[in-house]
Every structure is written in C-alpha cells, then in structure tokens.
Amino acid sequence: MQESATSLALTLISTADPDLLEIIGLSLRVSLSAVGLSLCAGLVLGATLAIARFPGRQAVNILVNASMSMPPVVVGLLVYLALSRSGPLGWLGLLYTPSAMIIAQTLLITPLIAALSRQVIEDLYLEYADQFTSLQLTTVEKIKALLWDARYSLSTVALAGLGRALSEVGAVIIVGGNIEHLTRVMTTAIALETSKGNLALALALGAILLTLALLINALLSSINVSAKRYAYA
C-alpha cells in the first residue's frame, strides 16, 4: 500500500526536502509577484471605476466582473500565444520562465482585484463623496485617500487574489511548462504527481499548499485585527 498522505507531507516538511522547498519558493515568488503587480493595476482600475462617472461605466463594470471567471487555461493559452517565439512578444524570450508565469497570473488576478476593490471602494465612496467634493479633492487625491482608508478590506481582496494565484494550475503549466528546477510550482507538481499515479504524494503536496495558504492568511489577519479595530468604528 501507499504511504499515507499525511505522514508523507510531514516527512517532506521535517526533512526540508530541497525539491519541495524549491517549488514552494517558486510558488510564493510567482504568486506574490503576480499579486503585487495585480494590486498596482487592479486597485487603480477598481478605484477609478468606483469613483469615475463616464458613459459605458456599467458596461466596463460588467466586463471586469465577468473576467473574474476567466478560465486560467484560456489566460495561459493567450499568454502562450503572445510569448511564443512565433508570437508578437516572442523576441523577449520569456516563455517557459517564471516571468511568463507571473504575467499569466497577473492577467488572471487583475480583474479579480479590480472587481472586488471597486465594490469595496464604491461602498466607502458613498460615505465620503460629499465630503471629498467639499474638500475639492482631485481624482488622484480621492483615489489615494480611498485606497488608504479601505486598506483593511483591500487586504482581504489581495488575499483572494493570492488564493487564486497560488491554487491556479491551468495558466502556469502552459506558459511555464512545468520544467523541473525552473518553472515547477506546487500546483503543477501536484498535477504531475497525480498523472504519475503518485496520489499520496500529490495529496501531501496539496496539504502543504493548503497549510501555506493558511499560514499566510493567519499572519495577515493577526496583523490586521488589532489595527482594524483601531481604525473602524
């Protein structure tokens, strides 16, 4: 019989298996970078959509909301076609690199961050709008103030983005190629071990990924809780 997944997971962790540490490191590097880039773009887009009033705004909102459910495989395919040597950005030589994975995940998560942050900021702006207009804030000043004041809600948005990035396999396996020691991350390793019939190992990796997500969430919320109580009435 196969070793149980739990004991395998514990063995992998306790022996600090170098291959495991490598793919955990890459998973974190890729997903955190993607979340970081997505936050830069998504928060600005979300905040702009929340406060700007222009014709077709509702249509853009629907589009952004809908693209939250963009299948990772499709994003991966689009990025593959763009970064392939025969594609328009092939000269960059980015395909099958962590950068390609970061690009794919950034594209995947940005709509999520934009849509969720728009909702959060729109709710906050309902309260602030008159005061901000009274203070004659410029749009940029409004966006900055809203982003800062919504920071705790937005940290949950960032976590949602990180969750999607860390758990996503369809996009990174296409643009990363699941190359050992180069682009293999937790999820592609799980897919690979499943296809090799190493179900216990796949489950063990899954458990480690879940624990990792749990730790990140616990860390952030422990930082947040006290500060949040302080800022919100």
């Binding site: 602030y128 008159d130 207009t133 009274s134 203070l135 804030l137 103030a145 800022a231």
Partner: protein, 271 residues
C-alpha cells in the same frame, strides 16, 4: 436676459429693520471689514429623476455674518446648502459668488461640516493632516492649534471613528477650519449632539463669524438660529418662502409656514 441678482428677492428686510430689542448676539460686532462673500442665487432649481427638489429660488445672502436656513423636514434645506457650496449641481439657474461664476479656486475657500461627520478611517491628527497636506500651498492652520481649539489634543493619536459623537463633530469642524475657509457651511452640525457639545461648536462658529468667516448653516434648532444668525432663509416645498433679518423673522414671521414652524406645529395650508 440675465436678471439682476436681487430683482426677485423674497421679503428681504435689510439692515434698516434693526428696530427690535437687540439680543445679546455677536451680530453687533460682526467684522464688516472682512472680505465680502456675496452669494446670489438666481432661478435656482433642482430636479432629481423627475422629482422637483428645489425651484424658483432667487435670493441674495448677506455677504457677512451668519445665514440660517430653516424649514420643515423635506423642505430642501440641505440640497440648497449643497447647491450654494457647489457640491451638487443645479438643474436650473445658477449660483454666483461675488458676481462671479464660482471656480474650484473659490470653493477651496469654502468648507462644510455635515450632520453626520464624515471622518477618515485614521487617527484624529491624520484627519486634520489630510486637509493640511492637501492645502499645503495655501498656508493652512496648525494642526495642534486646531486640536487645542476643539479640545482634542489628548486624543490626537486615537482613531477618529472611535470618538464620541460630539468629539467627532468637533474634529470635523476643526478639519473644516484647517483650510481657513472664508465661507463655512454647516448642515445641521449640532443636530445629533448633546447640548454641551453643541455649545462648544456654537462658540467656535460664533468666533469664526466674528473673525470674518461667512457662515451658512442649516438648522432645526430655532433657539440656536435666534442666538446665532443674522438672517433666516425659511424654506417650504422646495422654495424660499421667507428671507428676512433674524430679529424680524423670530418676532414677526410673515409667511404662514414659518409661523407654524415657530409655533411648533405642522403647517397645513387647507386649515
């Protein structure tokens, strides 16, 4: 053709009606040398999704002192205040400030305190600093001086939204004053406060007025309006039905709704 701003003024009894007994108000020592802030409202109206909120408003406010806007609930007071301040846009007519179309530059000289204080989710001092930073090239007031004025120095580092209602409103007032406004709008700023907090705010408002700041306030508190204001704009059904000097308004209101209001009963035109 463009109407002269005061061609259609409702019952404006100017300074010559100061014949009643003077109340112990600061009206007598208004700083008449302060820069004038003359607001002319011309054919002002506002319709929101088919519903008429305001219509046919043609008044000129006194360029100095305290103007109180009064009226029953739903009379359109707050909307009028927003139109004058320029944070809402009229669907009819226009507002002129010193005979000019108000620009952003003019409005940077105005500030408003809302009935429910809108405080940023930050510390007390950060709420003030926010405005100070925004107006840094306009030489804003010193934060600590402002906090001292509203008695919040020892709460400077606390979360603004954890203050009591009275403290929050004082902070909102301090923040409004940080940008040294020449016009201060108050929308029922003391309505939800206990009398002690309301008194602190009234004191500051009076002091500001004496220092030359034009005050335009919406209030439900007739006694407060009588204490503070130089003129009263009484609204009913989305328009101004009476605009008069405070003394004459409170002694001899000319319109039926104003009489009913001051007597503390609902106005029923069919009775």
């Amino acid at each position: 053709m463009h109407k002269s701003p005061d061609s259609n003024i409702v019952n404006l009894n100017a300074t010559e009606t100061n014949n009643g007994k003077r109340r112990p108000t600061p009206a007598s020592n208004k700083n008449e040398k302060a820069p004038a802030n003359q607001f002319d409202l011309v054919e002002l109206g506002c319709t929101i999704s088919g519903k008429v909120i305001l219509q046919n408003i043609n008044i000129s406010l006194k360029p100095h002192g305290i103007s109180a806007i009064m009226g029953f609930n739903g009379a359109g007071k707050s909307m009028l205040l927003k139109l004058i301040h320029g944070i809402a846009t009229p669907t009819n007519g226009h507002v002129r400030w010193n005979q000019q179309v108000p620009t952003r530059e003019h409005r940077l000289n105005q500030a408003m305190v809302f009935q429910k204080p809108v405080l940023l989710r930050r510390s007390v001092k950060a709420n003030i600093d926010f405005v100070i930073k925004q107006r840094k090239h306009r030489d804003p007031l010193n934060r600590n001086a402002l906090l001292a004025m509203v008695g919040l120095v020892d709460k400077a580092t606390q979360a603004a939204r954890l203050l009591s209602g009275g403290e929050q409103q004082r902070l909102a007032l301090a923040r409004a004053l940080a940008c040294k406004p020449s016009v201060l709008f108050l929308d029922e700023a003391t309505a939800s406060l206990d009398s002690a907090s309301a008194a602190i705010i009234e004191d500051i408002v009076e002091r500001e007025s004496r220092a030359g700041t034009k005050i335009i306030m919406v209030t439900h508190d007739a006694a407060q309006a009588a204490r503070l204001s130089d003129e009263v704009i009484f609204m009913h059904g989305g328009t101004v039905v009476e605009h008069s000097n405070s003394q004459s308004f409170f002694t001899t209101p000319s319109s039926a709704p104003a009489k009913a209001y001051l007597e503390g009963r609902l106005y029923n035109p069919n009775r």
